[in-house]
Amino acid sequence: MSVLLQDQNYETFEINLGPQHPATHGVLRVILTMDGEYIYKAEPVLGYIHRMHEKMGESKTWLQFMPNTARMDYLHALAYNHGYVLTVERAAGIEVPERAEYLRVITVELNRIASHLLWFGAFVLDLGGFTPLLYAFDDREHILDILESVTGARLTFSYFRFGGVYNDIDDDFAPATLAFIKRLRSRMPMYHDLVTKNIILMKRLKEIGPISKEMARRYGATGPVLRGSGVNYDIRKNEPYSVYPEFDFDVPVYTECDSMARYMVRMDEMEQSMRIIEQALAKLPEGETIVKKAPKIIKAPAGDYYAAVEAARGTFGVRVVSDGTNSPYRLKLRSPTYSNLSLFGEVAKGMLLPDALALMGSLDLVIPEIDR
């Protein structure tokens, strides 16, 4: 703790971290009241990329809002499609054929690996290492090619439809995915040698940014940030949806509560996602990919509905209030990094600037998802 935190009349100066700053990965601005290099008070300021998705939801029909969901957290767009589609299917009571559920899980997990790879590259870039970013992007390109061959898009997929998926996979999708998994598995030890076991990185991440279990609960943090603090909470396990119960995978949990723990949780999650994809590809049933009588006009009976999915950054929940018409009456999008970032102010108090940036990197922020 710096001397300042004891007495108040010490002279501090204010620095603007952002909105244009290399380490904020988007237009997040944090007003830091600093004493030398120690942060006395950190106050994030949001809203620089606020587009009011929730108002757009109220003026569009159910299907027309689909492209919006992919543009909130564009790194894991498919989980957001999945969350929205789940809520509307729960509201309108639409069944989804088995094959479509499997395709959904496969593409969501592939997208999760791509999101974690990009986070890994950007995080080590924040800490000063340039090369791992390009190795991670090299792997991520393979995933984007695979997903492009089935969905047609590379980043903002609008691949899911109510009651199924947009189109079926062609026959060289499965071999390409399995080849990719074999390649990534062979490269993971290299990532661990180059970055995880590196003494400089360990010194940068160990005991940095402690988030206790109690603080995570008070702030509603979810996802890898929570699992880094020793809580075994993963919506795919705790609140099984779609066909996740049919796969056996485990949820990596670390109890050290520091940035290193959050880093290790995401690195292990990539392995688990690969296991899910392999099992899903093995058990992929035949059948059509969209329910026969998929209603063109969705009629959800009046009332409110809630569904949550496990996105790469935490629990993405959609609360829909429907009044029976063809467009939602109120659409609340619960974004995980919104709560994860809200604890930054409390944790960053008294930290050094580079450590605060290491903490921010370990929270894995995507600003358009926070601002919605």
Binding site: G47, M52, K55, Y219, K299, T315, D323, G324, S339
Partner: protein, 174 residues
Amino acid sequence: MILDNVKKAMAALEPINMAETDYAAKGFHLDVQVAPEQVMQAAEVLNEELFTLEAVTGVDLLTFAKAAKKPAKKTEEEAEPQEETEPEEKSAPQMEVVYDFSHWDELCRVVIRARIPRDTPEIPTISEVYSGANWHERETHDFFGIKFTGHPDLKPLLLPEDADFHPLLKDFVA
């Protein structure tokens, strides 16, 4: 098991309406509607049971009653209990604040609702108990103009600092 403790504790608060909903259809287990002043006690009850706050949502019910009442032609008639049977308030239109809670160890989602008059939207804050609610409440204030009494600093979060308009109100004109 946690659900029963919550139900017992909530019953002690005599909420206006408490219904156990079917999770598969609605997405949450318990739906409790409390008076605006009781929101803080409800939050404390859930805090003891180690619930975590997921989201705070504001809903402007100005045009909700009209659309919901004309029943859609052929949807099955399992109408929501509290929507239809409630004495249709021809009086002042209302706003609703919905708190979503979930639990780590057991799948148990609790929803707390509070209805407040639309022209004087005021409700006590729960940010002392759940500091995560600080931002959620500031955002709901931005979009609906609901004043959370006792909130540390209720200045706009997602809207520009000098924003005095509230976009998500149904009668908002851009």
